[in-house]
Amino acid sequence: MNRKKTFACISLLLILLAGSATKTTAQEKRIKGPRLGFDVSGVVSHYLNPERLSLSAYADYEIMPAIYANVELGRMKINRKQPSFDYKANGYFAKIGADYNFLQYKLAPVAQYDMIYGGLRFCAARYTHQASQISLSSDYWGNHRGEDISKYTMQAYWAELVAGIRVEALKNFFLGWSIRGQVKLFSEEDPRMKTLRIPGYGKASRSSGLSFTYTISYRIPLTKVAAGKTTWR
């Protein structure tokens, strides 16, 4: 229960910080550079469910005015121990896509980097799972150790429709969250045991669903572009 309260407080703090973020004053030139960030929700999820660890990082770059190319990479690890069996899973995922910033032309043309965005991702994951310490129980004959499920490698592909907010809370530091509608396109199955979670996707049993990210990111200020010259570089 304390963990849930802490999680709620962290979420609230993130939202309040984003809402009260200091707006940079207009400058003559617009800063451009790749933005690198990580998803805090994986850390929070690990705190709530220590058996599960999912970490992801992302990078984006404004390739055209209001359009940001986006790449996400992540890792998932599960080590779940139950009386009936132990389950381990391990895998990686990648998401590639682009976001469109709906605020780009509504804010001042320079030094305003806040985003309300929508985007698309094509996502892929490669992962393994295995089971051991399988207990087959009988009320009369007692428990019996079953045959271990050896490591099995699988792949999955899905698409995500993204909507989110990203706010420059401090100079070059951004806070944001996104909500994602996911549609599974393809996933392999182990005939001996169902997959619990697909890295980057979530519960493997669902064919579509929602996921959330809470990101903290830093923009590397590589170049400055004169106002009105935010064209392809």
């Binding site: 849930k4 999680f7 709620a8 979420s11 609230l12 939202i15 809402g19 999820s45 709530l48 469910n49 779940r80 139950q82 009936s84 069996f85 389950y87 399988i134 207990s135 087959l136 129980s137 009988s138 009320d139 009369y140 004959w141 019996h144 079953g146 045959e147 969250w177 909500i179 001996r192 045991m193 169902k194 619990l196 979530g202 519960k203 929602l210 959330f212």
Partner: protein, 157 residues
């Protein structure tokens, strides 16, 4: 903003795993019959006591009067042997089967599927035994085996 935050929190906790709420009992259903005038009729032998050969201290039936039995199958081996006592005289009932480990769910774990291959018995009280349904369905009280008693051991009903 607050409704969005609430939605996110709700979605996070909605994904928490639930405990298993199912149990799986794999039992062979045995019907007791007597041949009378070339016709099989239900039998109701008195004082029937049954236990697994390795579990003499754990009785499945204790001086019962029943016309059908449910015998749990041992998931650790390909056969189960039962001692069947009627009026203190014992017979053995051997059930041979194939086992296959099956995944149920991440909350419930695994179970064993049984397919009966052969049934054998001694003949103090029994005349013969026959498998009528090879597949054991969990939690079902189906008749898998017909066990025919000699007429002298039958109380009739």
């Amino acid at each position: 903003m607050i409704p969005i935050l609430a939605l996110m929190l709700l979605a996070t906790y909605a994904c928490e795993e639930q405990d298993c709420d199912r149990t799986f009992n794999h039992q062979a259903g045995v019907g007791l019959y007597t041949i009378q005038d070339s016709v099989a009729v239900d039998s109701l032998p008195p004082n029937i006591t049954i236990y697994g050969t390795t579990r003499p201290d754990s009785l499945l039936y204790d001086s019962a009067s029943v016309s059908s039995l449910l015998l749990p199958l041992d998931p650790s081996r390909n056969h189960s042997r039962f001692i069947v006592k009627i009026n203190a005289l014992a017979d053995t009932l051997d059930l041979h089967y194939n086992r296959e480990q099956k995944f149920v769910s991440h909350n419930c774990g695994f179970t064993t599927e049984f397919t009966l291959e052969e049934a054998q018995t001694t003949f103090h009280h029994f005349d013969s035994v026959r498998i009528v349904k090879h597949t054991i369905n969990p939690n079902e009280q189906e008749e898998n085996i017909r066990l025919y008693l000699t007429p002298a051991d039958t109380a009739g009903r």
